[in-house]
Homo-oligomer: 276 residues x 2
């Protein structure tokens, strides 16, 4: 069977339409080669892209699939009129009914981030990334009062990627703090965290998976030993239960799922999203 | 004017449909309250959500907008038949024409990441995040040979968020290395980087913006002084030109734009994306 090609075309980065289109194509269990083409913001550029797509039709021997979001009507129209493909003009499909419902014309906003880069919410994301990096792995107990959430859990339970994802995606200041054998011996939370109990969220993990992950880092170590992993996980879960900390198991969850669940539980104030 | 509410509803995290729908709503210069509702994967849950949406219609006094992606046909149908809203059933809008074109039925894959979390490309993303954190700000010169890209530039030119974004979004192992006054005095690249010239990509920034950013960190310091920023940026740009390093200015660009441009220029091998 010939492999289909799917193109994601945008006058901006094309990241959003690629993520969306790829999720749609996942509904079909066939191999699809995916090509993102960003910054197609002029009639000249779109003619080049049409040539490329129509050539792909010939080399593949089968119609390509095109997802596009182009806000300039004349650029979108050239693509629509000339491309030999199953073409989803996503902007048109959504914006036309929205114009009717809202009783106003769309502003043909080209999805460039240049103005976004100066916006308040963008600056907040960058600040949150810096904050989360500075508060990774219990590096700093300073300014914990301004954290939106503090993740706790044993080493390699998924705290770092989750913190960074929360910061990058939502501008959430996410600190993270390891629970270590000394905490379990003392039977208390790390002292720095005690006054921030309402911001704490725990991550746990299946000890077998934890041992695998740790073995990749430090093969054959006590740190990675399954028995040790079992003890640490049991002690951490007992502590979280005792302290009334909400927690979830990350074993079969992606960062996106973990982050979504944390947001549902904690509902940080700063998530009252409202677009302009 | 009453504020509209837009709902993004999914049987998975809803992150993709939210990003897509929010980009569409940006085409209209009106305030829209945005609510993401994840994990709606049963008929029971969808009835609860319908109640919530229909109540919103009453309190807002105006029809809500609903973007949904639900792969289970019976759940999608309940929503469609009962919701009082301008409803975009995104999956249906795309999957129906795709079924026709591909000559096959969709597999009603529910967009949960549970299986994703175990996949090779997911593991690669996690590995890349760890790699990029370990190689942030020139912390380590070990294993630079396995980097996909090494970003260079003066302090606070945008290297760290870009590296982490490349890792998180694309599984790209992105190291980053500061160019510091000592390098400029010696008139050479940091010694550790010399053998990796083909992987280097430079970030520069307008000195006025740089001075603003540095002043937030260390107000009134020589580090943040505009004259010093001018000198550092000029020296860094001269060095990048001399060494034949491709570079861009980050001043008015978002992380997404910077990352997209880097990928276009460097085309790392690992980006031969092909979905199953």
């Amino acid at each position: 069977m010939s492999v289909r090609t799917a193109f994601f075309i945008s006058d901006g980065t094309g990241i959003t339409v690629e993520a969306f289109g790829a999720a749609m194509l996942k509904q079909f269990a066939i191999p699809i080669r995916q090509v993102r083409i960003p910054f197609v913001d002029s009639v000249d550029k779109v003619y080049q892209i049409i040539k490329q797509i129509n050539q792909t039709m010939e080399t593949d021997g089968i119609k390509p699939i095109v997802f596009s979001t182009m806000a300039t009507p004349e650029v979108a129209k050239v693509l629509h009129d000339n491309v030999k493909a199953l073409h989803f003009d996503m902007l048109k499909m959504i914006v036309d009914p929205l114009e009717k419902e809202l009783g106003m014309e769309s502003n043909h906003y080209v999805g460039r981030f240049s103005d976004t880069a100066q916006s308040k919410s963008y600056q907040q994301r960058i600040e949150a990334i810096n904050y989360s990096l500075e508060h990774d792995d219990g590096q700093s107990s300073r300014n914990l009062e301004i954290a939106d959430v503090i993740l706790v859990g044993v080493s390699r339970s998924g705290k770092t990627p989750t913190s960074i994802y929360l910061a990058m995606q939502y501008g959430i200041k996410a600190a993270n703090y390891p629970l270590i054998p000394e905490d379990f011996e003392r039977h208390t939370l790390p002292p720095a965290l005690k006054e921030f109990r309402s911001k704490l969220f725990g991550l746990s993990i299946d000890p077998i998976r934890l041992s695998e992950i740790r073995n990749e880092r430090r093969p054959g170590s006590r740190y990675a030993d399954l028995l040790n992993c079992r003890e640490e996980v049991a002690a951490a879960e007992a502590m979280m239960r005792r302290e009334g900390i909400r927690w979830l198991s990350t074993t079969t969850k992606s960062i996106e799922e973990i982050a979504t669940t944390i947001l549902q539980e904690l509902k940080p104030d700063r998530l009252g999203t409202e677009s302009a």
